[in-house]
Amino acid sequence: MVRHDVVVVGAGLAGMRAAIEASRYGVDVAVVSKLHPTRSHSGAAEGGINAALGNAGEDSPENHTFFTVKGSDYLGDQDAIAVMCEEGPGDIYELEHMGAIFSRTEDGRIAQRPFGAGGAPRTCYAADITGHVLLHVLYEQLVKSGVTVYEEWFALDLVTDGERCVGLTAWDLLHGGVQGVQARAVIMATGGLGRIYRGTTNAYACTGDGMSMAWRAGVPLKDMEFMQFHPTTLKANGVLITEGARGEGGYLRNAEGERFMYNYAPNAGELASRDVVSRSEQTEIDEGRGVDGCILLDLTHLGAKRIMERLHGSRELAMDYAGVDPIEEPIPVRPGSHYHMGGIDADVDGRTIMPGLYAAGECACVSVHGANRLGGNSLLETVVFGRRAGAAAAQEVRSNGRGGVFSPSAVRVAEKSIRELLYNFDGVRPAVLRTELADTMYEDAGIFRTAEKLEACKATIEDLRERYAAGVIIQDKSTTFNSDLVQAIELGSMLEMADCLVTGAVARTESRGAHSRLDYPERDDENWLRHTMTFYDDGRARLDYKPVTITEYQPAVRTY
């Protein structure tokens, strides 16, 4: 059993930023992460981070707020979006002072480029490895801060005293054994769940564990049905090619060589919002104007110099995973599941309905992305709300000295369930269920949805959950680095989160942002301008709804 004031679960950008901020308040902070911090998926973010610095032309936080609201298809909470957009510039400057090597303008300021549906060149970037640069900068600061890091500790369950969160249990992957982690405040920063889909841009680690933990502990999840499909991912393995490729002037072409985006978004073209571009691409492919299930991302006209300077990493990815040198020929790409807008319901300080439990980053839903996230806003979200959650948790600890009681039985319960998992000798290998899940999500809960497909998907998930509950076979029985065990536990979270996602999607009988229902093609503000809230009800997803916060901008028709 270890004890700390604030424990952050997850060590990507949001988690590390939260830990660094909390440690500034002089409280005892620890990070629990199933990966070493620099292995986190934030590092795979490529294109950039938005903030209205105005370095590349007129811009303002208000402008940023408006385009984010519009991009969210008016489902984002406008007060939260305003906080992010107003505080964003300060966070960018801080990252720069920490040493982030943002690309520069001629006069040495942070360069900014346009991203889809942003309305201004607002995306700051470090070539096309922005996430990598920021992840390593924050890790440097984490090391400097002296925060304790429990690396390769896999978080199992939140522990409560019936009222407040008092810590969690975790499996020590390297040495084996369940560890109790007592905390006066816990911040969830565990990232997304992209792995429930086939062909995702997400890392293997993105299995929705944190969301699942919170949900099981009684904290509602919000807007779970909204899954973003990124327009440019590689066919073979879903690897992301940055939106920056289009920001730098790249074209999308169909089999006939036509820049088809202007047929769908007459003004913005390739730089329409991601939901619009992905749907357009899929339509082209479905109507027979694709190339081997893909459309073409053409950068050849940008020239070798620009590609090498600004899109060096993307070129390498295209060469490694598609066998294509974008200087010479277009890259075949397709839409792929990328970012989950929904998550643990949290306010602008990361607070959840459970005292002592906070959430930030992709696992949270502060509701700044609504129904569709703008490119460049997710990195911003991690640092703004990571910082705010870290500060709020530390302040709470300082002002409220008393934590709850961490019952030792929590560890025994976790140990028992691990034993049961390990010593089951009947059933299928987890990979079988995982593959079936990823397939049904891709086929039936993808870019275009219908009641029929979603119902079928839900039935499949229910079947998978039953088979999982009946027991899966873990072949590795050892206590040292048992990734077979961990992957089986992750599968449990994936199944639960897929269930929540699809349950929300079945119910939402409208099309909004990334949730596109062929049977309900219109946005329906009268009935659906509201957040889906998903509660844990004896293992099932129970839905409720809550209103969207609208301040400045009344919902309007969304065109690009």
């Binding site: 620099t38 040493g99 390593h136 990734s483």
Partner: protein, 330 residues
């Protein structure tokens, strides 16, 4: 395509490792990581290795293929199948093996922490960003590409002989800050890198450059630090003095002054009479009185002097770092 791997297996209680052979039917596009996943899912769930991003950015899946460190996710299997190879997959070198392909990274991170890898400030930063020219940042771009996968460390020949050597990854990290015009810890870093297990331990085998999956070129990064140490006139280490003899002799006689190399680098070694006599007997001892001299020496002397002036200017710029007015904007 049919892919066969021989995988080195090891469990903490085993006396020694063994090789297991696995064959899978993998898609043409499969990487080494894809094949390992297929084996784990379909044949042996106990096979252990690290992975996460599968796009060569998280640095989890460093391992050896036929003795050479690679990222499993960046290694395409089709060419090997074409060549008819059945590669041996083993854990990275220079790090303790925990289980199968999983190594203990703690020694690696210990060295990372030892170089104090964060930007040092003095006083408050500017209100907005530091004004830095792109060319300034380009100087550290390669080092900033590092994903800390450990492939360089795995193959470091010096570290095999001196496990305490800071090594290519940690020193490349140090170089990333030494070269950052915003950093205020330059002298501290140079002193640290000039220590007993610092840059002068590097044997220039270039395995790090060869293995790095991200093009960091750690050896070049080490050389950058060595160059700055030398430029600062920090000649306390034998390695720096060794370099000084090469520098000096290149324009003093045009040829390496072998007679000066030993006594100047390490005076104690010059007392190794037995060794010296052996060299004399083989005819390998140079004439200390009348050294070999290059023709047109004047050119090189003038060249060295001229470039030295330019180097001084460069050093002054580096010492100064970013000089932005802190109140540049409000």
């Amino acid at each position: 395509m049919e892919v066969t791997l021989q995988i080195q297996r090891y469990q903490p209680d085993d006396d020694e490792s063994r090789l297991d052979s696995f064959t899978v039917d993998a898609p043409e596009t499969a990487t080494l990581l894809d094949v390992l996943d297929q084996i784990k899912d379909e044949q042996d769930g106990s096979l252990s290795y690290r992975k996460s991003c599968r796009m060569a950015v998280c640095g989890s899946c460093g391992m050896r293929m036929d003795g050479a460190a690679v990222l499993a996710c960046k290694t395409s299997m089709a060419p090997l199948v074409e060549e008819g190879r059945t590669p041996v997959i083993s854990p990275m070198g220079n790090l303790p093996v925990i289980k199968d392909l999983v190594v203990d990274m703690e020694p690696f991170w210990g060295k990372f922490r030892a170089v104090q890898p964060w930007l040092e400030e003095d006083g408050d930063p500017p209100v907005k960003e530091w004004r830095v020219q792109q060319q300034e940042l380009d100087r550290i771009f390669k080092e900033a590409l590092c994903i800390q996968c450990g492939c360089c460390v795995s193959e470091c020949n010096s570290m095999e002989a001196d496990p305490d050597f800071l090594g290519p990854a940690a020193l490349a990290k140090a170089a990333r800050f030494v070269g950052d015009a915003r950093d205020r810890g330059r002298m501290k870093r140079l002193q640290m890198a000039n220590g007993a297990h610092g840059v002068w331990d590097c044997t220039r085998c270039y395995f790090c450059n060869e293995r790095c999956p991200k093009g960091v070129d750690p050896r070049d990064a080490i050389a950058k630090i060595g160059g700055e140490i030398y430029a600062e006139g920090m000649l306390s280490d034998k390695g720096a003095r060794h370099a000084q003899v090469f520098d000096f002799s290149s324009h003093a006689t045009g040829y390496l002054l072998e007679t000066a190399l030993v006594p100047y680098t390490d005076p104690m070694k010059a007392l190794d009479v037995k060794f010296a006599l052996k060299m004399v007997r083989a005819g390998k001892a140079p004439n200390p009185v009348k050294p070999h001299r290059a023709k047109k020496l004047g050119e090189v002397r003038a060249l060295s002097k001229l470039v030295k002036e330019q180097e001084k200017q460069d050093l002054a710029d580096k010492r100064k770092g970013v000089t932005t007015d802190r109140e540049n904007e409000s």
